[in-house]
Amino acid sequence: MTRAMEQYLRPGVKATPFCPGCGHGILMGLILRAIDQMKMDMKKMLFVSGIGCAAWIPSPHYDGDTLHTLHGRALAFATGAKLYNPDLTVMVISGDGDLSSIGGNHLIHAARRDIDLKVICANNMIYGMTGGQVASTTPVGKKTATTAEGNPYRPFDLGRLVTAAGATYVSRYSVTQPVSLINSIKKALRHKGFSFIEVMSPCPTQFGRRNRLDKPEDLVADLMERCIPEEDAEGMSEAELAEKIVTGEILPCRE
């Protein structure tokens, strides 16, 4: 492994801000690998993010234009920038709470408009930065700072949500599936429409320690066991799929 990806980091950036074991640092590198393989011009790339841990993946680390906005509003800011200057490649990188809870209305409307935005939703299934509160993506029964006896409510299926709202490329992968994920990001970069990639990213600090997955490697092992490609999921019973996260292309794009 070389340090070739450092050319895409803003001069002055020294270290990632993420906790040990956080998946966001891996995702930060995988996005850059897709950008590198696609030979994107960073001068024409705008990275928009909201508020939360995942919003710090691009801001200020990536050496393009970065716009770190308000909680939940990244897609609305991105819509304004992309509509005024269509030459920009606009990528929105933010968390599950930011994009699907406080920003849920903007998410479905951005998908409906099918504007060319490449959205990467880092899903750690919890509010990490604020101390581990339940999210709209927390699985039923999981413990958080505000659900000591387990989350009573069902999580969003984000892929199906944005597909129904009108997105034109939708996929779900885990940071434990780096090659598939890089390929999916490259597809999103090529696709001229609203792309949405949900990325499962472990949060040992807030999610793991409350759910008997104390060590970062426990969370990674758990994700690797639970995330199964769609072809493996075919033929599995509902009971067998209950604890699984099916990954792959939920809505393939026309190439």
Binding site: R10, G12, M42, K43, K44, L46, V48, S59, P60, D63, G64, D65, T66, L67, H68, T69, L70, R73, A76, F77, A78, T79, G80, A81, K82, L83, Y84, N85, D87, L88, N105, H106, H109
Partner: protein, 373 residues
Amino acid sequence: MLPEGMYYFSGNDASAEGALAAGCRFYAGYPITPSSELMERMAARLREIGGVFVQMEDEIASISAVIGAAWAGAKAMTATSGPGFSLMQEAIGYAAFTETPCVVVDVQRAGPCTGQATKVGAGDIMQARWGSHGDYQVIALSPWSVQEMYDLTVRAFNLAERFRVPAMLLADEAVAHLRETIKISDAKEIWDRKKRTGASPFGTDEEDGVPPMPAFGEGERLAVTGSTHDDWGFRKTDDPDVHARLVARINEKVLRQEQAIGETESSFLEDADTAVIAYGFTARTSLYAVKQLRKEGLKVGLLRLKTLWPFPESAVGRAGGCVKRILVPEMNRGQVAGEVRKCVRCDVEPLGLTNGEVVPPDAITDALRRMAR
């Protein structure tokens, strides 16, 4: 742009044309009475002249898209009324803190809450100034005619660009729905934001305290954030000096220009012992009342505020030094009267009317006669 000439417009239409004349090429908005006609005109006209119009899912998205477009290089605006203006406040704070030029037209209606959606009010004066959290400044102008819906929209864009600050047109339903003939002239001053390659976009040694502002895609690799940031946009969320310096600069760059930004108009004030201080539509009925009482020999005059924020302390203070008492009629419960009190030593009497109607001349003449006794 419209050729020079005379035009018969509503206030909302005039504001839209003023925006286009000032160089506005991006509009994002959400329908709300009594401002919707402004959005409808922008939808039609931006299509004609090659700008971008988008109707967003709500007012939060509208102002957010405006800020995104502004950083992509646009002169951008939105228009709304009370409930939508409330929703926009967090993002207005973002625009102030990231020094994003943009224009918000607030066609005020009778609040609070949904209130009387089709009736007039002026209850958003304090919200315009203090609606977002923390210490920041905005610029707010107050038109009293359809002509000024045009002229002050142009001025709002110029001030927003010159000082890199959100600028507001605090109109009211009466002026926005009024129809009058206005004059559009080619001879007008247009300001554009400063640009300098390689300069820091969030800090400057220049006297005006306004750094240059590049756009996305120009190769400047901008880092824009609503967190406390240094001159280059790097987050500095635990450095007390960086925070203090930034908050001071975004406030001082506006406050130091109070006299340049502040515009007022005096009528019959030279020998007056009683002044009316008014703004927006209320200044029209106030002028009528003052003229009536002059016929009766009362020494009354009018100071009309065309700028509300930063508050024109110098002009109000000067007027207050020459008269014995001041009446402040307004369509709220004394929001500007309180500001006037901070600037003068003479008696200040508020005349607040919150019934969804304009302040009638009779109410003003009655109050002035009573004060003269």
